[in-house]
């Protein structure tokens, strides 16, 4: 057996863009975080048999061009909104990358938990009534996991590798990891990575069946927390080979691990979470003391927050400032790893630390420096983001200025 040698070179993040309940664009996300304001409100998109707060996207979404109509899903439209947001410079940066490297050298890897399931749910209503799917049902191009990634690839005229990562709530973070590896191993020069997930009935009713959905907006790390509030989002990032231009933030590493414990309950001692964070630090070649800020996964369920607290304490003691932002955005599931990676990038860009909306009294089990209210004029050079999903699937990302 060969000795394990793990290393990876940093890559640049040339541009990034997002849409969530906080609005369209990174500025809208930054401002909502700065005000530590919640975007959570009662669900309006469709009816479900219980009341809950969600982070719902209220913006008008762009239409899909006629040639790509078979890819038309809420998921694709949400992704397109983020892609086209001019102020982010993402689409422009992708065009530059395409002409600089060639379309076949630019990959697309998108994380999602349910892809276009929202449209399929409506189609099942027709199937059960009429015995067949409606004519405009296109499983492969709307619902299959890769659909949104393929749509983005076709929209941009790219021809490199294209796939979806779907590992529940770590999907977006794992897509960033996969894109990083494709560049490091020389398969691609640039990769559009990220996570896109949209509200749907199955997820809301499924989490409800597990008794994990809060009636009120979620309150991460709070002593009296009552469960999650679900959200929807797209977070897209362009990773590129490191350039001489050092002004771009860098992705240093993504640490990944498995709990090997239970499909929907984390390992009680946070063993998998510890491994993911340690592996990220090791791959990045960065000591724990150097990290200035950690965006917690902090879903606001009793067990998740308790286990994450234990895990973070094992790796960082109580020396690290951290916060959970799902009280602001909702838990955006397969997009969360990418959206919160963007939040970590915003902390680098604006030298600020977001608060933890909804946190009143810190849980006794949580011995961490959880930031309650957002703090400006901070020094943030290294930022980390945690994402943990069903199946005990964990990822921790480290960015640096």
């Amino acid at each position: 057996m060969v000795e394990l040698v793990k290393s990876i070179k940093p890559v640049s993040i040339t541009a990034y863009s997002s849409i969530s309940g906080c609005g369209l664009g990174n500025q809208a996300l930054f401002e909502t975080l700065k005000e530590n304001k919640s975007s959570l409100a009662e669900l309006e998109l469709f009816e479900i048999p219980f009341s809950t707060y969600v982070g719902e996207i209220k913006e008008d979404l762009p239409g899909i061009k006629t040639e790509l109509e078979i890819y038309n899903s809420r998921n694709s439209r949400v992704a397109l909104a983020a892609l086209n947001h001019t102020a982010s410079g993402l689409r422009e940066a992708l065009e530059v990358a395409k002409s600089k490297y060639g379309s076949h050298r630019v990959g697309v890897i998108i994380g999602t938990s349910t892809s276009g399931l929202y449209e399929t749910e409506s189609a099942y209503g027709v199937l059960l009534k009429q015995g067949n799917m409606p004519d405009d049902f296109h499983f492969v191009t709307r619902h299959a996991y890769q659909a949104t990634g393929r749509f983005l690839q076709l929209e941009l005229g790219l021809t490199g590798p294209c796939y979806a990562i779907s590992s529940a709530c770590s999907s977006g973070a794992k897509a960033i990891a996969a894109g990083h590896r494709l560049i490091d191993s020389g398969v691609c020069d640039a990769v559009l990575v990220g996570g896109v997930d949209t509200l749907c009935r199955l997820t809301l009713r499924g989490f409800k069946s597990l008794d994990l959905v809060a009636k009120q907006p979620c309150t991460p790390m709070d002593k009296d927390r009552k469960g999650i509030s679900i959200g929807e989002a797209a977070g897209l990032l362009l990773l590129e080979k490191i350039s001489r231009d050092n002004s771009m933030p860098k992705l240093l590493a993504v640490g990944e691990s498995s709990d090997a414990h239970h499909m929907s309950t984390p390992h009680p001692e946070g063993k998998g979470a510890v491994l993911a964070m340690q592996s990220a630090l090791q791959l990045a070649g960065v000591k724990a003391e150097l990290i200035d800020y950690l965006n917690l996964h902090a879903t606001a369920t009793k067990i998740n927050d308790k286990v994450e607290s234990k895990a973070v304490q094992q790796v960082f003691s109580d020396q690290l400032r951290c916060s959970g932002t799902k009280g602001v955005t909702g838990h955006t599931l397969g997009a969360a790893g990418a959206l919160e990676a963007i939040i970590a990038l915003i902390t680098l860009q604006h030298q600020f630390i977001p608060g933890t909306h909804g946190l009143e009294l810190l849980d006794d089990d949580c011995n961490l420096q959880v930031v309650k209210d957002s703090q400006s004029k901070q020094s943030v050079n290294y930022a980390m983001s945690n994402s943990f999903g069903f199946g005990g699937n964990n990822a921790s990302i480290i960015f640096a200025l």
Binding site: M1, V2, L4, V5, K6, S7, I8, E47, I48, P49, H104, L117, T120, E121, Y124, L128, N132, M133, F139, V140, A144, Y145, Q146, P161, C162, Y163, I165, S166, S167, A168, K174, A178, R181, L182, D184, S185, G186, V187, L202, R205, G206, K208, S209, L210, D211, S257, S258, D259, A260, H261, M263, S264, K271, G272, S279, L283, F390, G391, G392, N393
Partner: protein
């Protein structure tokens, strides 16, 4: 750049006729490889994937407790998702919490980790017709950072035929142990890439099967592994840009 070698291959397909037709060594789900409790809770897709994965790991004699893995499937837990979708139009239906957490795409990856007590990274990917090609690419690129072994499993079960016919007419799973270590009887495969000049002369039977069972895209690579024949280009998908790997047995 690390060389990548195929250490072992295994196939699980409940249809013996297909195994015979393509001269594949394999069989149906092997119940002895999956504990009873897990067998009860898991779908056919997870059982065929775990059977193939276990067999490939046994053959390669690798320590599954430390093995990173990539699970590649077009539709994953499609039957579980289908059953849940059928309940949604009724507001009074209560979804089963077990079925809900078993509907995620990384369900097989999660059960695999629990079964093997493995805390190494595992990924669940999907790429429609390119699922096997992208799975191999993902595994290949993981081996560029980590010298060692990795498990690649590609699988899809039988699907309801109102979703995307003919996808899912046949359940098919295969598994590979890939390694940076050339040891034993392994063969070397190069980085998967699109080969514009690739032309398949005799492909109709295989292509027909791949349309029904996406994971069967791996068959040419599996056959090459069996035969240890020097072949220039092995196709990894059947439509669009054709992804290929070069196979090399003289090293």
């Amino acid at each position: 750049m690390n060389d990548v070698f195929i250490k072992s291959v295994a196939v699980c397909c409940p249809v013996q006729k297909i195994l015979d037709q393509f001269a594949l060594q394999g069989g149906d789900v092997d119940k002895t490889l999956i504990p009873a409790g897990m067998r009860r809770r898991t779908s056919l897709t997870t059982k065929i994937a775990i059977t193939a994965a276990k067999q490939a790991c046994n053959e390669a004699e690798v320590d599954t407790g430390k093995l990173p893995s990539v699970f590649a499937s077009l539709g994953g837990e499609i039957q579980v998702t289908d059953a849940l979708c059928r309940m949604l139009p009724d507001a009074d239906e209560l979804l089963s919490p077990t079925q809900f957490h078993n509907s995620v795409h990384n369900t097989t990856a999660g059960y695999w980790g629990i079964l093997t007590h493995c805390q190494a990274a595992t990924s669940a990917i999907a790429a429609v017709d390119d699922t096997f090609a992208m799975g191999l690419l993902e595994a290949w690129s993981q081996l560029q950072q980590t010298a060692g072994d990795i498990l690649l499993v590609c699988y899809d079960e039988q699907w309801p035929q109102y979703l995307a016919p003919p996808i899912g007419q046949v359940a098919f799973a295969c598994a590979f142990v890939l390694s940076t270590d050339s040891g034993g009887t392994s063969i070397r495969c190069t980085i998967p890439r699109v080969e514009p000049q690739y032309q398949n002369k005799d492909k109709t039977v295989w292509e027909r099967l791949v349309k029904q069972a996406p994971a069967a895209a791996a068959i040419p690579l599996i056959q090459t592994f069996y035969n240890k024949k020097q072949m220039n280009l092995i196709p990894l998908n059947i439509s669009g840009g054709i992804w290929c790997t070069h196979i090399d047995t003289d090293y």
